[in-house]
Amino acid sequence: MKNQPIILMLGVLALGAPLGADVVGTSDRLQHGRPRAVPGQVVVKFKDGVEEAEMARLMSVGGGHEGARSRFTRGLRVVRVSKDVPVEAAVARFAELPGVEYAEPNYLRQLYLQPNDARFALQWNFRLIGAPRTWDIQQGSSSVTVAVLDSGVASEDLAPFTVDFGAFYAGPAVVPVRVGPFRKTPDWGTTRFATGYDAIYNTGHAWDDDGHGTHVASTIAEATNNSSGVTGLAFGVTLLPIKVCISQPWFDEDLVGCPTFAIAEGIDHARTAGAKVINLSLGAPFPTASERVAVERAAAANIVVVAATGNDDGPIGFPAAYPDVIAVGSVNGSRERSFYSNFGAELDLVAPGGDFNDADSDGRPDYIYQQTMDPELAARGIYTSVDFLWGFVGTSQASPHVAAAAALLISQGITDAKAVREALQQTADDLGAPGRDDQFGYGLINPVKALSGLGLNR
């Protein structure tokens, strides 16, 4: 891809990930839980020496009958009792019987989700914000649609097709360009997609000729627990890919970037298509009326709009700086502000965007790894299906963490966009100066805390 001074904050620090051997992720999650037991069952261990006939008699005396017996431990039975009898009462009854060594409920353990995605160990960013525990609580509802306004998303296979610039190109007549084919990146698994939208070329498909949008969308909902690739924070939601960026100089190098008209159109399309969350990992240092009005319409329609603050170590760009937008900056693996992350009074939250350090000492820089494709190959319409994980660094990568967290909150029941913003802000881990500050906003998102909500006194 030819480098351009694009106004996008598109993974400007994008680097290929030097992947090594598979590493199985670890979890330090708690192993205790509220007891749940199989109704109508008691696990009974009879004392050694108790004969079969006596066991049967004791089970009958206790009000039950044999349901199953251990193949490995003599005298260990599952005793079936009436489901109308509380398990605790049945356990107490059997425990008092002579000949019974112990009786206990047939407790139900919970299958903790420790994703088996082959490269999950690379995702320090998800561990930093407690993703495994988050998934125990909420994985995202398919009824919640997250619009990704970006370079597109490689979510479908497309045969070569012809594009022209239509309304966007004001120069002399150009010959339409034939592009593609494009291939769906390999780790979408069961991820759901709404019909995409192309606000640039009006092709009817949000095809990705850059890789940035696919990477961002994958942070939100890459297929998870499917033994492949890495994970997405809200992998149960529905993605709505919307192409709002001109990523390749198909017609004119000066046109590479994301036209604000297309962004505004994309926001309005997301609104009318029923999106609940819009992610904008793009921006520039100046506002536009069309974009602002579209954002205001989205906010009025109860849509959470999330945007990256920018990668200039300077003031927060737009659309992030609009009041109706959740402005997201970046932290590294040490919870420090990333050296590039824009900051200021409009900053709401920070999320992992990474940098070149190696805070977790895994031998790799702290990039954000997600599936996408090689932009150089994509420029020629070639998507590789091997080593499809790429490490990007930037506030573009931080923003989808917050968009995904917002989608999880909506899935959990916080159905008001303003309340979602409040919940994310109030539950963030305060970093930097106490309280909200311009370097970290309200702090690092804490999805577990946000999803846990409030009890009466806790």
């Binding site: 839980g33 903790y112 029941g413 919940a423 846990s452 409030l454």
Partner: protein, 215 residues
């Protein structure tokens, strides 16, 4: 149930009183109570986590000793539990969003009291009493399969007014009704919705029916 030092001293002092002053003619009663309790000092918090409800069933019991014909002392306990769910509420004026995580609270009070009966020999015996003790509060939530619990215990005041009716010919069996008000300051308000609403007292009114054996 945990009992703080201050509450324990109050309860013990009030219970010890009759041992020093009772005469053979003085009466004793043991009663059991059931009724309805309203968390009227924390209505916003209760409504938030209990789907708009502020009350529920309460149970308890008490011992009473007469120290003079018109005066009595005693000790009692009450328990209240209710199930709801965790919510999110951004501010006192914001809507409440239910999150589906089960929540259960348990309130237990132990207290001593002293009371006055203006007409101890009437058929219907009205009385009032004031007490002090300790109220403990437990809260447990289940979030994503893991339990999260907390407990607090604070000094509490109790005010009661009621009437007893001794059933004739039933060997000292009596029935009655009682209205109560309890206050347990700073029992809540440290976190959760009670912090959002600025409510710190989990006391409130309750109305109970009482059955007792007197002699």
């Amino acid at each position: 149930m945990r009992m703080g030092r201050r509450g324990a001293i109050w309860a013990l002092a009030l219970c010890a009183l009759p041992a020093a002053t009772l005469s053979a003619a003085e009466r004793f009663s043991v009663g059991f109570e059931a009724g309805y309790q309203v968390l009227s000092s924390a209505t916003d918090s209760a409504k938030a986590v209990f789907d708009g409800s502020t009350g529920g069933a309460t149970f308890g019991g008490s011992l009473r000793f007469s120290i003079r014909p018109k005066f009595f002392v005693g000790a009692g306990f009450s328990t209240f539990s209710k199930q709801g769910e965790r919510v999110f509420v951004a501010s006192p004026s914001s809507p409440v969003f239910e999150l589906g995580h089960p929540l259960e609270i348990q309130l237990n009070s132990v207290y001593g009291f002293a009371g006055f009966r203006p007409w101890p020999n009437a058929t219907l015996v009205p009385y009032i009493s004031l007490g002090a003790g300790q109220t403990s509060y437990q809260e447990e939530s289940t979030i994503g399969g893991l339990s999260d619990s907390s407990d607090e215990s604070k000094f509490s005041w109790h005010a009661m007014a009621g009437v007893d009716y001794r059933l004739p010919g039933l060997g000292g069996l009596a029935i009655g009704a009682e209205l109560r008000f309890a206050s347990a300051q700073d029992l809540i308000g440290l976190g959760g919705v009670s912090k959002v609403y600025g409510e710190t007292d989990l006391g409130g009114f309750s109305a109970v029916a009482r059955i007792s054996f007197q002699r």
